[in-house]
């Protein structure tokens, strides 16, 4: 009896002495606690030359919290957003190498830096100077046009009489100048098109023959607020003509045409990046059905709109081929 009692007591005490480490569930303090800044928000390297430097931010909080750092170019209006959820901001979660989240690209300019907390009213302000903006690309990019030197007269084009294309300065997606395309056409879907011959980029280098490795990138500026219905009213179509036999002409009976189309349903600049292998073969394409980016003859960009729905607009800038990934990821 006595031995059994000792046995029962010993086993019970062994279990009772077990204590679990940590806590069950999320921290109460993180969910309901007051937010205190334990270590001030600081910008490490308050200026940077982004071709070989980077910057990061530091701060410490009293709880794990959702935070957001917004860096806005005071001249360009470009915006970089860094999001996180932690009780500390440091190099591992806030490193910035000059990339942009919302176009246009940053320039050499002063930037406003704002740290905010989505679930708290607190906000902390700072400034940052870009000595040299980041240049995108890994060295293998081929620029179709950035319109900095105006509109190339060799780009054949057609625009309806009530529509226009023009070079505008200021508020460009990249650098200073861009191409405006807009207008109203109540008798046809076509607002206008432009052909970009391949000779204008193949003189810079060659495109990789692997369609999985080639990306077409183009900045497009939409503005649905100009539409009478305040809704997206522009349809953008891209056509890629391949010269498979390399004779300098496109024959739809024997060669491929690839295409893609999408609504321009955003306001402001946006980089559209399309992997060449994702392009769709046109219904009347008569070629070998193999996507061959190294044999492109020309690109045609078409701006379309429903004739009944009025004004359409889709400006373009910085048309560029990239290899390996979309241009903004380089």
């Amino acid at each position: 009896m006595k031995k059994l009692s000792y046995l029962f007591l010993t086993i019970t005490l062994i279990f009772i002495s077990c204590d679990k480490e940590g806590i069950e569930g999320p921290s109460l303090n993180d969910l309901f606690g007051e937010l205190n800044i334990l270590e001030d928000f600081a910008i490490i390297n308050d200026s940077a030359t982004f071709n070989n430097e980077s910057a990061y931010f530091t701060a410490k909080f009293s709880k794990i919290v959702d935070w957001k750092i917004s860096i806005i170019g005071q001249s360009s209006g470009a915006e970089k957003i860094i999001l996180g959820k932690s009780n500390e901001i440091n190099a591992t979660n806030s490193l910035w190498s000059g990339e942009v989240t919302t176009l246009p690209f940053f320039k050499e300019e002063n930037c406003s830096v704002l740290l905010t907390f989505p679930n708290h009213s607190d906000s902390i302000y700072g400034t940052f100077k870009i000595n040299e903006a980041k240049t995108y690309g890994n060295g293998s990019e081929l620029v179709v046009s950035d319109f900095e030197n105006g509109f190339n007269p060799n780009f054949t084009n057609f625009f309806q009489s009530t529509c226009l294309k023009k070079i505008e300065t200021g508020d460009a997606g990249q650098s200073d100048r861009y191409l405006v395309q807009e207008g109203t056409c109540d008798w046809d879907w076509l607002i206008g098109y432009i052909d970009y011959p391949a000779s204008h980029w193949f003189d810079q280098g060659v495109l990789n023959a692997n369609p999985d490795n080639v990306y077409f990138n183009m900045m497009i500026n939409g503005d649905s607020t100009l539409s009478p219905t305040n809704e997206a009213n522009s349809l953008f179509k891209l056509e890629f003509y391949e010269d498979e036999n390399q004779d300098g002409y496109y024959d739809q009976n024997t060669e491929d045409r690839l295409e893609v189309e999408f609504d321009v349903d955003w306001n402001g600049w946006k980089m559209v990046s399309i992997k060449y292998s994702d392009l769709i073969l046109a219904w009347n394409s008569g070629g070998n059905a193999i996507r061959e980016p190294n044999k492109i003859l020309k690109i045609r960009t078409l701006l379309l709109a429903n004739p009944e729905s009025g004004f359409a607009k889709a400006d373009v800038d910085y048309i560029v081929w990239s290899e390996g990934s979309a241009i903004l990821n380089q």
Partner: protein, 570 residues
């Protein structure tokens, strides 16, 4: 419905014919009958404030549960129970129902192995399969018997057994050596059937093996496994929850007291498995409970230590009786905003429709106000502590007293490293005054008090201080033979703050709800009860019910009720 009635008539007619054809066959009947009626009326300030609810409402019914036992031979008994129910207020059968309430076949094979098919009552240990009592029912005075009988009968609550369907079998062998006997019990139960495009079929298999040794030592192995059948649903993952409990018991008589030592050790695993055998989520947890119990002529006391891991999960032992996600029968929607009235003391004490009949594969919701210390019974996870019970009765049993005290602590803090300390205590005294005084009429007075307290230290955000108190009293005075005047009260109050845990589909804590309580609830009753026997009685009573949640401007209810029940259990 018509088809069922035809079958019943056919069955009722056929059975006597069969029984008359064979001399050894017997048919015998038993049954229960109940007539119940209640009417609630808004009273107090609420009558003027709440202009959208009806001024009064009520319902009633008569029900007969006819049990039929057919024994074709000495080894087999077929039992069926048919309910015929007629709601008050209908005519020509429009409010009448005929349901098959219970059906089972039981028998003995070769005088050694007994079996039971169909409806069955199952129970193992407090950690594997146990239908633990609902909150606010401890030390309830017997004057509330009419309500309690109704709840337990309508919900198939028999002691702490779960009513399930399936197959059960047991056998025992007696030896004449170091092992006195070996007993084994197995069951297979279907907890949830196939649902069209719904959840998979849920089965539970289990068994108990008990070895009794000659030196008053016994060893038992209890095991249950609740699991979903993958092939019965389009769901990509199915649930499994095996639980094992090894019990070691020893008894010895020293002087006038018999001491019983018991040790329960075991563990559980619960998870969800994909069809390809990979686990989506799995947790395991252990438990241990040591208990020493002393039983004498006038006293019975026990002291226990227990540890239940935070990840211990047992569908059979943690499923709750009260289902808080249900609409109460009386004034389900109230106030001018027509909001769903939360389940309260009144509903827990009087309403059979808020109770759960089925095992739950996840931790069911509970209200911290009413059940802060052990919301999942003895198997409540994340508890370590000690508990003591003490029962006393004097020689002529004119005084019966019970007391309990339990102190637990969390094993791991919830949302903080600070841990809750939980204390529950209770005291109950029942006095048969007629045995103690010259009073000739039977007079019983019962009074009890139960309290719960939760504290947690730490910052203002982490700290918890919550206390609740349930005071109950009842007086039964026999006016003349078998007719009693009964009166009673249950008064509950809870005040303080708590932090409720919000759990995901895997019962993991994913958030919290900061709770403030300042609530007072009362049920007062006065009435007459006539007992034909202990199990056959009628009760006519009036109740006054008050609910006042001071943390809310609208969560108040004041009701006057007339309640009648005739109850007959044969």
């Amino acid at each position: 419905m018509k088809n069922l009635i035809t079958k019943i008539i056919f069955f009722l007619g056929l059975v006597p014919i069969i029984s008359s054809g064979q001399i050894s066959q017997k048919v015998w009947y038993d049954g229960n009958s109940r007539a119940m009626f209640y009417r609630d009326a808004l009273s107090g300030n609420l009558k003027d404030i709440d202009t959208t609810s009806t001024r009064s409402e009520g319902e009633g019914y008569t029900a007969i549960d006819l049990g039929m036992h057919f024994t074709p031979n000495d080894e087999i008994e077929i039992f069926s129970e048919i309910r015929i129910k007629n709601d008050f207020g209908y005519m020509w059968g429009s409010g009448a129902y005929v349901d098959l309430r219970r059906l089972s076949v039981k028998g003995i094979l070769n005088d050694r192995i007994s079996f039971n098919l169909g409806d069955m009552y199952l129970k193992q240990t407090a950690f594997t399969l146990n239908n633990f009592d609902q909150e606010l029912s401890k030390y309830e005075p017997s004057v509330f018997q009419a309500y309690r009988d109704l709840i337990e009968y309508e919900n198939f609550y028999l002691d702490n057994y779960w009513r399930m369907q399936g197959l059960q079998s047991n056998f025992s062998y007696t030896f004449y050596n170091a092992i006195n006997s070996v007993e084994a019990d197995f069951f297979a139960s279907r907890v949830r059937g196939v649902e069209w495009l719904g959840e998979p079929e849920l089965l539970m298999l289990g068994g108990t093996s008990l070895i009794k040794l000659e030196n008053s030592l016994s060893l038992a192995l209890n095991h249950v496994n609740a699991f979903e059948v993958q092939s019965s649903s389009l769901d990509t993952a199915t649930y499994y929850n095996p639980v094992t409990n090894i019990q070691l018991k020893y008894a010895k008589k020293i002087n006038s007291l018999t001491y019983r030592l018991s040790l329960d050790v075991g563990g559980s695993t619960r998870g969800w498995e994909k069809g390809d055998g990979t686990n989506i989520f799995e947790t395991s947890g252990n438990f241990i409970k040591g208990k020493i119990k002393a039983v004498g002529k006038n006293i019975k006391s026990s002291l226990a230590f227990s540890y239940v891991d935070p990840n211990f999960r047992s569908a059979g032992a943690q499923s709750r009786r009260v289902n808080y996600i249900s609409a109460p029968s009386s004034y389900a929607y109230y106030t001018n905003n027509t909001i769903l009235r939360p389940v309260s003391l009144m509903d827990i004490t009087t309403d059979p429709n808020i109770y759960n009949h089925r095992l739950s594969t996840s931790l069911m919701q509970y209200n911290t106000l009413y059940s802060a210390v052990s919301p999942y019974g003895e198997a409540t996870p994340n508890r370590v502590g000690t508990s003591a019970l003490f029962d006393y009765k004097n020689n002529d049993e004119s005084i019966l007293a019970s007391a309990d005290l339990a102190f637990f602590q969390e094993i791991i803090g919830q949302g903080t490293e600070e841990k809750r300390s939980l204390l529950s205590s209770g005291l109950s005294v029942a006095a048969h005054i007629d045995k103690m005084t010259p009073l000739k009429n039977k007079t019983v007075f019962e009074v009890s008090i139960s309290s719960e307290g939760v504290t947690r230290g730490g910052s203002e955000l982490e700290s918890i201080s919550f206390n609740s108190l349930l005071l109950s009293a009842g007086l039964s005075y026999e006016l003349f033979k078998n007719l009693k005047l009964i009166g009673g009260i249950k008064s509950f109050s809870g005040k303080g703050n708590e932090v409720g845990a919000q759990r995901d589909e895997y019962d993991q804590v994913v958030g919290y709800e900061l709770l403030d309580f300042d609530s007072k609830e009362e049920i007062m009753m006065l009435g007459l009860q006539y007992n034909f026997t202990n199990d056959i009685y009628f009760s006519l009573q009036t109740n006054q019910i008050e609910i006042d949640d001071k943390t809310s401007d609208i969560a108040q209810l004041s009701l006057s009720r007339i309640y009648f029940m005739f109850n007959m259990n044969l």
